[in-house]
Structure formats: C-alpha cells, structure tokens
C-alpha cells in the first residue's frame, strides 16, 4: 500500500503504524538526519546566535511584506522577469497554462517545488495535454509511483531501494534490474538528460526571493534545478508570497541555516541566483523567465500576528525529522501537502479546520520541533492556538473554518472540569469521590479503553495529597 487513506489523521496514522517496513524506513532515515544536523550545530553559541539572526530576518521581511513584494516586483521586472500574482491555486494553474500555451509548450521539466504540489500542477497540466516531468530524483521516483512526496526535502524517503529498483524496472526502458544506488542514479541521469534537452519549458520553486536586487535563489544538490532553469527556452518559477527576504545580505544566514538543518550539510552542491533571463550578451539561459506569486491562504495566515509566525518557515524539514509522531507515521498520514509539525500548522490554515482540524491535536506538544527550528517558529504555541480555533473558543478567531470542530460534549466536559477545579469545595468533594470509587471504573469505559489497550489502569490513591498534607499539619496560608 503506497499512501494510507482514511478520513482522519488517526485513521491514516493507524494504517501507517501497522506498516513495519515504512516505520523502519522512517526511523532509520530520521535518525540519520538528526545526527547529521547535530554535528553541524555542535557549537551551541553559534547555533543560538545564527537562529536568532534567522528569526529576525524572517520576521523583518514579513513585517514589511507588502512593501517588499512591490519592491521585488519592480526589481524583477527591471531585470526582465515577468511577475504574475495569483490568489488561488486555480488562478496560478491558469497562469502557468497561459504562459505555456503561448509558447506551444508540450513538455515541462520540473525542479522540486512544494508550491507546485499545493497547486496539484502536474495533474492540472496533464489534464490539458501538457506533460510535467519531475527531474529531482526523489520526486521522479515518487511521480513514477503515482504518489505524493512524504517529506519536504527527501520526497522518496518512505521507499527503500528494492521498491525503487522494482519501479525503475517497470518504468524505464532498457533498465537492467539492480538495487545498486549508483547504477539506479546513472539510469535516471541518462533518462532525464534527454528530457532536459528536449523540454519546452522548465519549472522551479524559489527558496529565497530577494526584494533588494530582484533575485530568485535556488538551493539544490543534483543539478536538475540548474538544468530546468538554464536549458529550456522558458523558465517559470512559482513561489508563495512568504518567501521574500528584504536584502541580499539576509540570504547567507538563511542559506546556512537551511542546508545544515535540512540534511546536515554545510552547503549544497549548487546555489543558483537568477536575476534575469538570457541577456543580450549571454549565450545561454532561458529567453523568458516568469515568476508567479501565490497567495492560497497566506494573506489570511498573515492577518493575525500570532498565526503570521507560521510564515517564517524556510522549508528545511528539521521539525519533521525530530518529530516522534512523524517518525512513526510518515508524511502521507498528514493528508495535506506539508507533513510533520509545519504541516500541522499550515494545512489546517490553508485548507481549513473542517477537513484538517484534527491535525493540531495530533501532537504531544513535546516541543522537539521548537527546539530545532532554525528560524524559531513557536510551533507549539501555534498548535495550541489552532486547537482554540478548532474548538470554537478563540477570542479573535481568524483561521479558515474556525470553530468547525466545536463539540457540545467537549464544551460540557471542560465546563465540568472548570467547576470542579476552580472551587476548592467542589474539588475536595470530587477528589473524595474519586479516591473511593474511581478505581471501580471498568477498563473498557470510554477514554480508559484507549488507555488500557497498552497500559494498566491508573490507580487512584486512597488519600489525596490534600488530605495527607492536612494530617501532617502543614501550614495552610
């Protein structure tokens, strides 16, 4: 089974938990990534100062976002890059289609872009007779399998080499079955080299869009990003409006935080800075470059100062690498485009509490993600905020479909809880009852049933600490 299906996170997670191979793949992969990252940030002082700087850069850019978007547009335009704005993914897809049709483009080669996943771009183009081919090896594998990425940096992390070799055997003409990674990579290189050569257009994401200079920055190891943005005559870049940074000097700190947090590398093979299409004197490069700025719910997330913090993300994946939940269920269980902790805060905000209001509760609030986020997003705080929104108890609700998980039963439970705990007399009474009768509750009772599936029943004490303290004669002042 490739991607767990089910209506709720709990159902999908349940399926994933039973998949021993998946769990082993993820555990091994996450352990490796955590270890590599830790080695990169061995100097605790440098780590804290660098992430403070990273946080300040992202928050500064967000605080000036509308002005920076205007400045970005102006500078990109002066550099010869055409800028388009899209409020929805439908609009963005139509813009891409329009640009491709104008050039009669039939094949697009793609660099890795999570925004293009938000757009479901490949399917959309496919329905309009245009072939979109993933060129990043992990995405290429995932596309071949008819799946979606399960991690934002390592899309095929849920697959082992046997699974990949079988895929290649089925889908690549002339591939001799081998589980050797080098040989499989060589086969992919040969296939994709042809595709780069023949493609009508290249599509990429953007890691950082620099307002000061009108520059699009791309981070990669394989070279497919450079191929997609250099070989075809047309390059289309898609990005969320939150990827803007103010100044060129803001880029190196973020780049360093990104590569070291994501895969534990001091640097990626290539850092590609695009400030224009082929100039009058250049011999190669695309003749046309377009950038599409996508909203898709980001302006709504931006509107509230607390939820705005979600937009600081530089898409490193460290949060999911360290998440005990993600490690056990993998990326597909989250249901949306972005998995892991960042997915738990973005997906409900982009796609609504109605469908994804259970995601913020799929966390023990262990804060492992908070500890490693290179730009200090207060993920746990946003998770609790989203729980408020889901329950319909937010004093200034702003999230899409706020209150969609409001439950009268839950409201009554917590009202009862409040009454019991804010009145010392009520608390004394209830705790007295529990010490005498609590242990009689059958293990199969609701809530207890879930607990006792792997644990013994909790045992109420015969006397509460209140009673013992009183008997001991402790001062009650």
């Amino acid at each position: 089974m490739s991607a767990p299906s089910g209506e709720t996170f709990r159902e999908r997670a349940g399926v994933a938990l039973k998949d021993g191979e998946l769990r082993a793949n993820f555990r091994r992969a996450m352990d490796g990534l955590m270890g590599k990252r830790a080695a990169q940030f061995a100097d605790a002082d440098e780590w804290q100062r660098l992430r403070d700087l990273g946080e300040s850069i992202r928050r500064r850019a967000l605080s000036k976002l509308p002005d920076l978007l205007e400045q970005l547009e102006e500078n990109l335009t002066n550099n010869g890059i055409t800028v388009h704005w899209a409020e929805t993914v439908e609009d963005a897809n139509q813009i891409v289609l329009g640009i491709l049709r104008e050039k009669n483009a039939k094949t697009v080669v793609k660099g890795k872009s999570m925004v293009s996943e938000e757009m479901h771009l490949n399917d959309f183009l496919g329905r309009h007779g245009i072939r979109a081919l993933e060129a990043d090896l992990g995405e290429y594998i995932v596309q071949m399998a008819g799946e979606t990425p399960s991690h934002i940096i390592m899309p095929a992390i849920h697959k082992n080499r046997k699974q990949i070799a079988r895929l290649f055997k089925d889908r690549i003409d002339g591939f001799t079955y081998t589980e050797d990674a080098k040989e499989m990579t060589a086969a992919a290189r040969a296939e994709l080299r042809r595709e780069f050569y023949e493609a009508d257009a290249g599509l990429s994401g953007v890691n950082f869009a620099v307002a000061e200079t009108g520059t699009l920055c791309l981070v990669e190891n394989e070279g497919n990003g450079r191929m997609c943005t250099t070989v075809p005559p047309l390059h289309i870049a898609v990005t969320g409006i939150d990827k803007v940074v103010e100044k060129l000097e803001d880029v190196p700190p973020l780049f360093s935080l990104l590569t070291r947090s994501a895969t534990g590398q001091p640097v990626t093979t290539y850092f590609n800075m695009i400030s224009g299409p082929r100039s009058a004197t250049d011999r190669d490069g695309p003749e046309e470059v377009h950038l599409i700025l996508l909203d898709n719910g980001r302006t709504r997330i931006y509107a509230d100062a607390e939820t705005r913090r979600s937009l600081q993300c530089i898409r490193c994946g460290a949060c999911m690498n360290h998440c005990p939940v993600y490690t056990r269920v993998g990326g597909h269980a989250y249901g949306g485009i972005y998995p892991g902790p960042i997915g738990k805060i973005l997906t409900p905000q982009i796609d609504g509490i109605g469908q994804y209001g259970d995601l913020p509760s799929a966390s023990s609030l262990c804060n492992a993600c908070v500890e490693v986020c290179p730009v200090k997003i207060p993920i746990a705080q946003v998770l609790v905020r989203l729980r408020d929104e889901a329950a319909g108890h937010c004093s200034r609700p702003s999230v899409k479909e706020s209150g969609a998980k409001k439950s009268t039963v839950q409201d009554m439970v917590w009202s009862g809880w409040k009454w019991m705990h804010e009145n010392p007399g009520a608390y004394k009474f209830m705790s007295g009852v529990l010490t005498k009768t609590g242990n009689l509750t059958p293990a199969a009772a609701p809530l207890l049933k879930e607990w006792t599936s792997v644990r013994s029943k909790p045992k109420f004490a015969k006397k509460t600490l209140h009673q013992l303290a009183k008997e001991k004669g402790l001062a009650d002042e």
């Binding site: 509760s361 023990s364 029943k457």
Partner: protein
Amino acid sequence: MAGRAYPQKPDAVYFFGTCLVDLFYPEAGMAGIELLEREGIKVIFPQGQSCCGQPAFNSGHRDEARAVAAAQVKLFPKDIPVVLPSGSCAGMMRKHYPELFEGHALEEAAVNLSERVFELTEFLVHVAGVKLEDKGEPVRVTWHGSCHSQREMGVLDEPKSLLKQLGNVELVELQREKECCGFGGTFSVKQPEISAAMVTDKTEDIERTEAKKVVSGDCGCLMNITGALEKKNSAVSGQHIAQFILERTR
C-alpha cells in the same frame, strides 16, 4: 536552567502538588515536601489548590483554563518560591501563565507568580543546594525527563546530578533520552495508537538498559510508562524521583 537567576535559600516555600500527584501519586508529593523540610525550609500547602489548568489550555479551552489558573494565582500571594514536583505543570505556570493572563486584571499577579515557580529538582539543586548521602542498596536505574521539563523548564542535568550524588546508584542513560514517551496529556487518548507506539518504544528502551527502576520527575510520564511496563509484566518498576531519593537517604 542556564541563564536563570536563582534566589538564596528561603525560610519558607509554597508547595503546589499538581492534580496528578494529588489523585494518583500523593506519596511523591509528601516525599517532595519532606525533602524540602529536611533542608530547614517551612512548607506551606494552601488547601485551596487544585490544577494548574494545563489540560484545558492544551485542549483549546483557554477560558476554562484561565478560570482555574486564576483560582491558583490567588493562593500564592507571598513573595516566596512555589515549588512543584512536576516539570510539566511548572512549565505551564512559568511559561504560559503570563500569556494566559495578558490584558487580564490578574496579569501582574500571574507574571509575579511565574517568576517564582520552580520545579522540585531544580530547586533542590540550585536553591537548596542539597547534599545527599546514599543509605540504600546498590541498584541500577535509568532516568526519564518529561519533554516540558527539558524544553520548557530547561531541567535535565539537575535530576541526574541528584541521582549521581547517590553513591550506590548506577545511572544508565536511555538511548533516546530526549524522545517523548507519548503521554502528552489528552494526546494519549486522542491519538491512542501513536501514543501506544511511543510508549512501547520507550519501555523497550528502558528494558534494554537492564535497569531495575525508571525514575522520573513527572507523574504524567510515570503513569504512562509504568502503566505500559505493568501491562507487559515487566520486571522494571517506576518511581518519582522525590520518593526515590527520600527512601534512600532517610
């Protein structure tokens, strides 16, 4: 915790038991109290106390949490430390009360309280400066620190340093010491399958240490872990660090 300024040892402290200790592990609370009294500190236990409010706060019921938290804030007016035998509840009061009471009439009192909140081992090490003499039999133990203890209160070395003072105690570290045990309060019943997978991994980690006991500073984790150990008839038992220390040094 690094960077926290600790006060001189006071003559008296408040003790906030926490609801889990109150109902399920009162002996741990009494042990914590006795450890403090042994250092010559008077322990005040306001009988009106109940819960820090964290369960409601984490479940998206902020108003209910605030109402209960307000009742607690009013119980600790004196400018003396408030000691808790739980890193999780200490974290709630220390880190989240200021935000919970922002703009509220009790904001000043809540902020003042948050600055006086200490987790028990933190207090014993940095404020009381306890010196322990081990009178117990040799034993191998392992330590489990709660996520909030480690990540909200910055407490990890303190409990281990107390255990290391005990000469007959061999402390073995868990392989995945920092990984969550899967309790997470309501998480354990909202996502029971994932929680079960996490506690299963944690108990396997514990059993691999061949320790006789797992010691912890948080009763939520303890209830979760010992519950799982009992269910599989494990030879390993669990205990709150206050009880463990007190029993061996009486």
